[in-house]
Amino acid sequence: MSFSSELLIKVLVVLATAPVMALGLTLLEVKGSAWMQRRPGPLHVGLRGFIFPLATAAKYFQKETIIPKDVDEPVFKWAPAWVIAAVVGLFTIIPLSPTLIVRDLELGVFFLLAISSISTIGVLTAGWSSANKFSLMGGLRAAGQLIAYELPLILSVVGVVIQAETMSTVGIVEKQIEFGFPFVIAGQGIAFIIFMIAATAEMMRTPFDMPIGESELTMGFMTEYSGIRFLIFYISEYINLFVMCAIASTLFLGGYHIPLLPTEWVNFYGPLVLIGKTFTLAFLLIAIRWSFPRFREDQLQTLAWKVLIPLSLLNIMVTAIMKVVF
């Protein structure tokens, strides 16, 4: 197969997978919250609530796109594109099996950190170009939060990279198989917790949703968006949830591998295992979202700079020392 046709097939597969995963996670979130809070809608309406996400998507498609008069139009219109491009780009390095991966980059983890930082530009420009003080406040809060939590996200992954001696995502999973235990048990437990907290903050999900905070900022940087552009922000939030949980399962929970299954069949059960692990982690984040109140802005910054960053630096130091000693 030539390079260009292979590329085309890979791109089409990713573009088909991403919205499906987002729909699945939306369903999980809606049904999870309904189950936790006894909401009748998502549990009973329309085929026991299973067409709920599709109905939501259809609703946004038929809504009118409103562009306020004073906005900076090109910047405003293209802001959702930054976010979704960055999020979908991360599918490149998610390994469903040693061979079922878009590209096993040698610098996989580094690629993750570099590409995921692009979505901040989308959030900031959305907040600025809306010509609305709530949007601007939301954008500023988002920027402060994303900059602060990007550091613990990067630093917590460094421990894994040191332990695995590679940055390729397939390489990290293979190292865990060789070792016999996933990294969450074998030395990177703290890094896993830091990664999940920082990833939740990067996704701006409750309890880290100060930039959106509907009770004080209406919808933060998304206030002026409607119709299809709002849907893009909404979908990319769930694609991001999938990607971050998939990366966390790959780096810390052994990825596509589970013990006792024959390794030669990994192309068949690998995708199911990884998606299963991803949805379990996502369910954890959904349960947290519907149980906890929002952080105050100063508490949020204190947690990042005074707790998570020193802790992850300590984790790197201990991992490096252990690596040299053993």
Binding site: L107, S117, T125, A131, G139, L140, A143
Partner: protein
């Protein structure tokens, strides 16, 4: 001409156009966004030169951090929507053209003199090689740079922090 050549000429054209837009636009945020395009095309050119690490550093540090801080700074201090007349400066246009043309000439001359069709890395992964060289042959400059960064960090904190003792003196 091969496909890759056409692709890289297209990228160079894009780089040139976005670079020109960065300096000619009279809207700060638009300039920052065009700078993102400039940096992204540079990153793609580095990937074509199989220097993936440099490309990703460009994305992580410049697009992910520097541009974000740019936007953040502009939004915090003054965020006018629409063009800003102060950004245009007609007096220095000739001078600026001369300087940029001379810089272009000097760099072209140096690059052609030194690296014309020289193969720098022929085998092995460039990232691994880079790591090994940084921590063996260039370990002293590497550590020196980290001290410079530490100095900048301390300087930044000193400038930004409110010193309570000094504040009290001022108030008296």
């Amino acid at each position: 001409m091969e496909t890759i050549d056409i692709f890289s000429y297209f990228l160079l054209l894009l780089l040139l156009l976005s670079g020109i837009k960065v300096v000619t636009t009279s809207n700060v945020i638009h300039a920052a966004i065009f700078l993102v395009f400039t940096l992204a095309t540079t990153a793609i050119l580095f990937i074509l030169l199989s220097a993936e690490f440099v490309a990703l550093v460009l994305v992580l540090v410049y697009i992910g951090a520097v541009i974000v801080l740019f936007l953040f700074g502009v939004m915090i201090t003054r965020a006018p929507l629409g063009p800003n007349a102060e950004l245009d400066n007609d007096q220095n246009k000739l001078f600026a053209t001369l300087i940029s043309l001379s810089i272009f000439g000097i760099f072209t001359y140096i690059l052609l003199q030194t690296f014309d069709s020289t193969v720098v890395i022929s085998e092995g992964t460039s990232t691994k090689l880079l790591g090994e060289i940084l921590l063996s042959r260039f370990v002293f400059p590497f550590e020196l740079v980290s001290f410079v960064l530490l100095g900048a960090l301390i300087g930044g904190i000193t400038l930004a922090r409110k010193d309570n003792a000094l504040m009290d003196e001022d108030q008296i």
